[in-house]
């Protein structure tokens, strides 16, 4: 039996009550129903003030450094952000600015975002996908974008949202398994 997939979700919200976090957790529970995983949710607002104050990686405190490292060593990354001023939150991008340029190559990434209306849905393909394109990551073909109308508080209500998550997860799990095996084999000297 293969080892559990190490799933790391980065949640780009700036406060504790978060639809984006709820979405990330729903994706994680859907993953857990498919395959064995260990999951870590990184709410980047909890890494402040050290994260916001840092310009270089060496200036991160231990917690922020551990969070960046967790992202760099994940088997499957969930990149989840609210739409702020038309794109991912500044803090979200600031966090990824510390991630090593090649650390996410061969890492599958599931893109997720929430916004105030459906008008922001292209944030997945026009903001998040280019960012992870830079990292040479394997972005899953289906991203999940939800708007406030899909929620009641932090409960996801829209059945189509669940459906989309099911499909996105179906797509990404086999890729994540293959890539995780390949990464482990490459790391183990023959």
């Amino acid at each position: 039996m293969s080892a559990p997939l190490r799933v790391v979700a980065v949640v780009g919200t700036t406060g504790p009550v978060s639809k984006t976090k709820a979405l990330a957790e729903l994706i994680i529970s859907t993953l857990a129903a498919r395959t064995e995983i260990s999951a870590e949710v990184i709410e980047i607002h909890t890494l402040n003030p050290a994260l916001g104050a840092a310009i270089e990686r060496g200036q991160l405190d231990d917690r922020a450094e551990a969070a960046v490292r967790a992202v760099e060593t994940a088997d499957l990354l969930i990149a989840a952000t609210p739409v702020f001023r038309g794109s991912y939150s500044g803090l979200f991008k600031h966090f990824f600015d510390f991630v090593d340029q090649y650390a996410l190559a061969e890492t599958p990434v599931l893109l997720a975002a929430t916004g105030g209306s459906d008008r922001h849905a292209l944030v997945i393909d026009q903001a998040l996908r280019p960012l992870f394109g830079f990292f040479q990551a394997w972005t899953a073909p289906m991203g999940v974008y939800l708007s406030s109308g899909d929620f009641a508080g932090t409960t996801v209500l829209n059945p189509e949202a669940y459906e989309r998550i099911e499909l996105a997860v179906d797509d990404v799990v086999p890729v994540a398994r293959l890539l995780a095996t390949a990464r482990r084999e490459a790391a183990t000297p023959a």
Binding site: T155, V156, L157, P159, E160, Y162, E163, E166, L167
Partner: protein
């Protein structure tokens, strides 16, 4: 008029989640007739059946099924939900439902819709490209058939009628509703035609539909109609059992089976996970799903938002076994309906008092 509660059924033939086999169409149809009988006995107001033209549904001729129900019931209203008017002949629809109305002693209703399935278009020789024109043209004729006989009519999607005698005539104005799924244009058309609105909310947050109901009443007023006299009904899936847990546990496997048979992506069914189903049963979710008290509370919450006149519940979608369906119908009639009717009547009365001061 008192708030109305009813049941909606498509006669789906979903594979039983335990055996993998669907029921036969004959079994399902007989069960629907028994359900209508029990619904009538427990005092529910409406039983409606939907029209589909596929192997996984037993009802393609609502009027025939409703006529059988008419002979087994006394006072429950019998409605299509919907009649796929775009691919039918309005003259024939009118004849069938006026016949039903006479047989049932004035209990027939038509909910005209465009349908969310497309099989009936090639089946009856219609072009899907004419989707919108077919519906508006035929709806115009159906409404005209109510108003005058003999009828003279000219449209674009069927031959003109010149002093045509269409019989039998009902002994009252046959109720015709228009079904909408949330397109503003459909809502405005219903308002313009001064016909009641049947709103389908098949999941998610029902609050999102409030702007449509507001738009309907505003548009009706602008078109010079009495918006207060126009009825609105809401239809959503659901199931009722003694407790919340039981309602979910009994109905979810069947709902998911029916959902997967009808809800395809990339050519295959997509599951409705338990978490997604339970979310619909929360206070903000659209489904009438839970204990009698929870369902009554949700209907009353919705009434505060929509001030509507009727709900119909697509009860036990996916063919919940008959025994549990009949129990749910009983609970709906004896424990939900009386609470809802009483509460809404008292709120209407206090609103009227406040308004007259």
């Amino acid at each position: 008029m008192a708030f109305e509660l009813g049941i909606l059924h498509f006669g789906e033939l979903a594979p039983d989640p335990h055996t993998g086999r669907p029921p036969t169409a004959g079994t399902r149809l007989r069960e629907l007739i028994e359900q209508a009988k029990v619904a009538d006995e427990v005092g529910l107001d409406v039983f409606s059946v939907g029209e589909h033209h596929r192997g996984d549904f037993a009802v393609s001729s609502p009027a025939v099924v409703l006529a059988a129900m008419a002979e087994n019931t006394r006072s429950i209203k019998l409605s299509s939900a919907v009649t796929v008017l775009s691919s039918d002949d309005p003259v024939r629809v009118f004849q069938q439902f006026s016949t039903l109305d006479l047989i049932s002693g004035g209990r027939a209703e038509i909910i005209a819709g465009r349908g969310s399935y497309i099989e009936s278009f090639p089946l009856f020789g219609y072009d899907l490209g004419d989707y919108d024109e077919l519906f508006s043209d035929k709806l115009g004729l159906l409404l005209k058939l109510r108003e005058e006989n003999p009828v003279t009519w000219q449209g674009t999607t069927r031959p003109a009628l010149r002093a045509a005698d269409v019989n039998p005539r009902p002994e009252r104005e046959l109720p015709v509703w228009v079904a909408v799924g949330g397109s503003p244009a459909s809502v405005v058309r219903a308002a313009q035609l001064n016909v009641p609105l049947a709103l389908a909310i098949i999941g998610g947050s029902y609050r999102q539909f409030a702007p449509f109901v507001d738009l309907y009443r505003e548009a009706a007023t602008k078109f010079g109609h009495d918006a207060g006299a126009l009825k609105v009904s809401v239809s959503s899936p659901g199931f009722v059992a003694a407790t919340h847990r039981e309602a979910i546990e009994i109905s979810h496997p069947y709902f998911e089976s029916g959902w997967m048979a009808n809800h395809h992506q990339r050519g295959r069914g997509v599951p409705m996970p338990l978490a997604a189903y339970e979310a619909q049963s929360t206070r903000a979710g659209a489904f009438f799903l839970g204990s009698p008290q929870e369902v009554a509370e949700k209907i009353i919450d919705q009434w505060e938002l929509f001030h509507h006149d009727r709900i119909t519940i697509q009860l036990g979608f996916g063919d919940v076994p008959q025994k549990q369906m009949l129990t749910a119908i009983e609970l709906l009639g004896t424990e939900v309906a009386p609470v809802v009717r009483k509460e809404i009547t008292s709120r209407q009365e206090s609103a009227a008092k406040a308004g007259s001061r």
